[in-house]
Symmetry: C2
Subunit: 209 residues, 2 copies
């Protein structure tokens, strides 16, 4: 009864998860503490523990919500299986990139949410339809998944080389003439384009086996 005015009635797992999502999207995952989450709902920190086992469970549930944003709607269905694969991965990338906090969450949870299995399933179906053998499909699946997470993980860091280079004294820069040469091209790179470039290059490579 000392919850926030206008909030839905009794405390529930669903209310906790949606409050957690609100906090994470508004303030970032590092601000999501059990105490802060209780504040957001207008309850005591320990009240949460009747509905969730611990903080890890909250994070896992958040990851599942994100994953379901893809899997609860129809997955890409282009008739060309290679295209279907690329479209699926691109959609995953877009959702992850829109929610960069998933990186910290996955690192903390050390697991993917159950609904992510459906994405793998869809990717494998496309690869099989495209004629990849199991060994190549398994390898491509893992490589693609890692590539995609690497993209999100490395998100802010992508400009790190450029910034780091920029911080060098002019004298120090002489050491990096190759970088000086490509720097204009690097600064023009768009994350989305770069993702598609690397993904296509990798898939081309696997399909050319």
């Amino acid at each position: 009864m000392r919850g926030r005015v206008g909030q839905a009635g009794p405390l529930s797992r669903a209310r906790i998860i949606s409050a957690a999502m609100r906090v994470v999207e508004r303030d970032g995952v590092e601000v999501l503490t059990m105490r802060r989450l209780a504040d957001e709902i207008g309850t005591a920190p320990m009240s949460l523990y009747r509905h969730v086992a611990d903080k890890r469970e909250v994070l896992m549930e958040l990851l599942d919500v994100v994953s379901r944003r893809i899997t609860d709607r129809p997955l890409p269905a282009s008739p060309d299986p290679r295209r279907r694969l690329i479209d699926t991965v691109t959609e995953v990338h877009q959702v992850l990139e829109a929610n960069p906090w998933v990186v910290q969450a996955v690192l903390a949870v050390e697991e993917l949410p159950p609904s992510a299995l459906r994405l793998s399933e869809h990717m494998f179906a496309a690869m099989r339809a495209a004629g990849l053998d199991e060994r190549t499909a398994a390898s491509a699946h893992t490589a693609i998944w890692r590539y995609t997470w690497g993209h999100v993980f490395f998100g802010h860091l992508a400009a790190a080389s450029a910034r780091s280079y920029g911080r060098q004294e002019p004298a120090g820069r002489a050491e990096y003439e190759e970088m000086a040469h490509v720097m204009p091209a690097m600064l023009e790179l768009k994350s989305q384009d770069n993702f598609r470039d690397g993904l296509k290059a990798m898939i081309d490579g696997f399909f050319a086996r």
Copy 2:
């Protein structure tokens, strides 16, 4: 004087960094706290702050040590530039994989250590020698970097799909017949091989432009 018996004399930045590396390699990066680090050296937590600005600086220094393990020795020098590129990236991957805690460290620091620039420089030199134009080189460089970090980041998680699949009820598994099909091949995947497969596929793709 109440430092550990046999430890080198006065507190110094170098002693702090090497103690930090000891803690991280022995117990993991999540155990590295300023208090624990002071314990390791046999000093008071606040004594550290005369030699380092904050914890971030300690982590950055640790990343630089790891990076220098590659850059302080001669970099791969195969006459074939494509090979030189692959060898360099493979060496980076091996060092990162041997020090998986760098993932958390990079995430906390949000920057690469200065010596990492030399790796980019070497990669760009190889790509230029191989005849890639600047736009493709910039794109390939970023994609490769992200792919490599993705591999390390996704390290433990790689088996996540398999474990997650394994946890499904037999009834639930019916939903994932594609996964059932490739599961044997997935379980045989070696991380090192998978890294090279994806890397080669990606580089093939970029070089075929």
